[in-house]
Amino acid sequence: MILTRELRRNPRPFLVPTGVLTLLAVLLLYPSAVLDGILHGSTGVLRTAPADLIVYARNANGVLILSRLGSEERSQVQDVEGVDRVAAFDAWLLGAASEDAEGTAAVALLSSEAQLGSAAPEPGEALVDTTLREQIDVAEGDTLLIGPGEVPVTVTGFVSELNLWLLPGVIVDKDTWSSALLPAGSDQSGESSSGEVPQDLPDEMPEDLQEQLGDQPGTSDGSSEGEEEPGSEGSEGSEDGTDTGSGASGDEGSESEEPGSEESGESQESATGVVGFAGQEPSSGGAVQEPGSGGAPAVPVDDDEDQDMSQLLFVDVDDGADPTAVAAAIDQATGRVTETFTRSGAVKAMPGVEEQETTFGYIRMVTLTVALVVVGLFLMFLTLERTPFYAVLKAVGASSRQLFFGVVAQALLITAIAVGVGAAATWGLTHIPFELPTMMQPVRLLETLVALGVTTVAGSVLSLRRVTGIDPADAIG
């Protein structure tokens, strides 16, 4: 077509509009790359979970770290028609260090009854997300020290897309997971299982722990608030071994010989360890994140009565069953104690996901509107400049329709070139080390190409009237 040949023959007039469209393409592609990078880095485990449905405790509001489900809920879920298999899943944020190399990294410590990655790790082994290698020097066969107690695990392999909260995932078995959450100095023999406390605990609270609980924060004027619940501060220096049904402080010297609670009538069997999160909070700034666990002994290990607690349940449905219907049935069967999502629903329910997608959506919408006006302006001016040329074409027999479609074809060609160059520029920008996670996805490129193409065509319409109104006599005059 003659007008597209014009682009090759005399590209100069088209350089500026192409340049502007390229910049607009970058303005669309780069924020999308940032959004996708954040979402992918925050939700890998959930997106690739080996399950059709993911079950949370309803009062956790989609926040993994707040969800706790016991054996009662699990058996209720298992009994729902359409449910094939139920598997427990747990995750926590901890610090990790390579035994041989410098540096620490925050990791998401994962444990799942359903296999994540290539193989289920044995006790003392770990599968690690590939992104950990960007932070510390670790290879297959190396030993990682996990958590405040520096539990050693041997890296048996690397997997991808198993990150969470912008942290690399480290997959271990449940026993290792529970051990890693215990404070430094706790018994790491591995005899404790699922957070159960070893049976040979002393009957009385160690003196140093007793002292600490007597002076604990929250009563910084030194006096007790008089709480009587289990775990209540022994401000009087409890002498009968009461007060705590569960874990100790993060103090180095304390052991996990949790004393019994007279109130609960149990002794030495509750095993809530006090855990410090020693890692880095997921990158914030609107990034998807789980609320921090700071300030609380926050281990969701088994409590006195329920030895089978977990944070989430991964559910596979029977072949042919409708996952949405099964999800509704699960929540009904548990009396709405649970909230069941599909994988994509679980991702959307994570705090911040929807807000980020909406915000970036606004930015894209406004940028496309800008593109419409700017492209329209440029095409209008180009048409103005080339009016004599169009007049000649009309004089030799070209119809207005042909001219208009020629203008549209030029606009689309410019757009395609601009998006291509813009994509290359965006790729370059994503490699600048801002420590902002980015990911370019082909679908975004296609979306941008289509969106800009549509706006360009719409912008072309602005010059339609002028093109069709050109008088061929102008060419002669």
């Binding site: 780069y30 910084s220 049904g245 402080s249 993060g250 809530t272 914030s284 700071g294 300030g295």
Partner: protein, 376 residues
Amino acid sequence: MLFANAELRRSKARFGMLTVGTGLLVFVLLFQQALLTSLLDGIAGAVGHQSAPVLVLAREAQRSVAGSFVPPDQFEAVAGSPGVADASELGVTGLSIRHPNSEERHAAAVLGYQPNRPGTPTRLRAGRLPEKANETVASAEDAAGRYKVGDTILIDPGEVELTVVGLTEESRLNVSPTLWTPWETYEELVRGVYPETPLVMASAVAIEPSPGVSTEALIQDLNAALPDLEAVTREEAVTDAPGRDAVRYGFLLVMGLGYIVVAIVIGFFFLTLTLQKEPSITLVRAMGAKGGYVVSGLVRQLLVVILGGLTIGSLLLVGAESAVEATIPITVDPMVIVQTAIPVMVVGLLGIVSPVRRVLRTDPQAAISRPSMGGT
């Protein structure tokens, strides 16, 4: 200015479109700036707007307040250090809030502090600070559609009722609704999630230095004495919050591109206009108008376009503020508009450099030598 004004009147549609285009670009820049301000404030604004000049965190938390915990023995060590006049707990956790009559929950950051001691929030916009248990102040930016002063809200897990007695400003954490509540209530909330918990630890120790002791000296001494902990100023706790710099650089990059687009669009428009009007400009100069007269006309037209664009962009931002407040609270700040106007003006002026040079190169002689004027 006759020439410039006549141009504006004669080409209303073109200048109108350019003004609208500039207005939309300015809106994008203003929106991104407002978004950036909201995000940067929302990441750790709460930490920066509490009363303790010094905060002590777990060193392993890498200056993330929410990721830090300070065991009791270390707390006592800090509190007993020389140069510390007062030390109190600051706790951070994440929970959900909802209205008692609603099932809809919103994720929220909850901070526990000791009233009237270091760590007390300092930016109260409405109401009062909590005076007793189960009272809270909440971030005003997130109030729309969620809560107001006097409301009762439920905290989940645990279904603990809190009364909102005040609203804070610029005191958010983790870019989410943020509640401040007395330490005893904070402990109750944490135990609502973890009932077996005997001990609720502080995320940070909020410190008031002794009279005569500088924050720098105190920080140095604490860091030397307590290697497992890290003392920082509250400003450092804000600026070094994880992710803050990355967000800022990312946004600045995108906004920088936006400014370039403004410069190119304006420059291209005026250059094209100048090229089209070159015969007229030549004639005007031949009649005795100095180059400066024509250039000042160009600058005048630029000012009209930019001021019009700023007006359109600002009005769109005001509209956007109410449209997006449920999702992400942004504020229309006149200072931000001024701060955006200046670089927009600068890039606009840069954009017309080329047309100005073209105008100044115009040779009035060319008017006489035109065939229509009798030349050859």
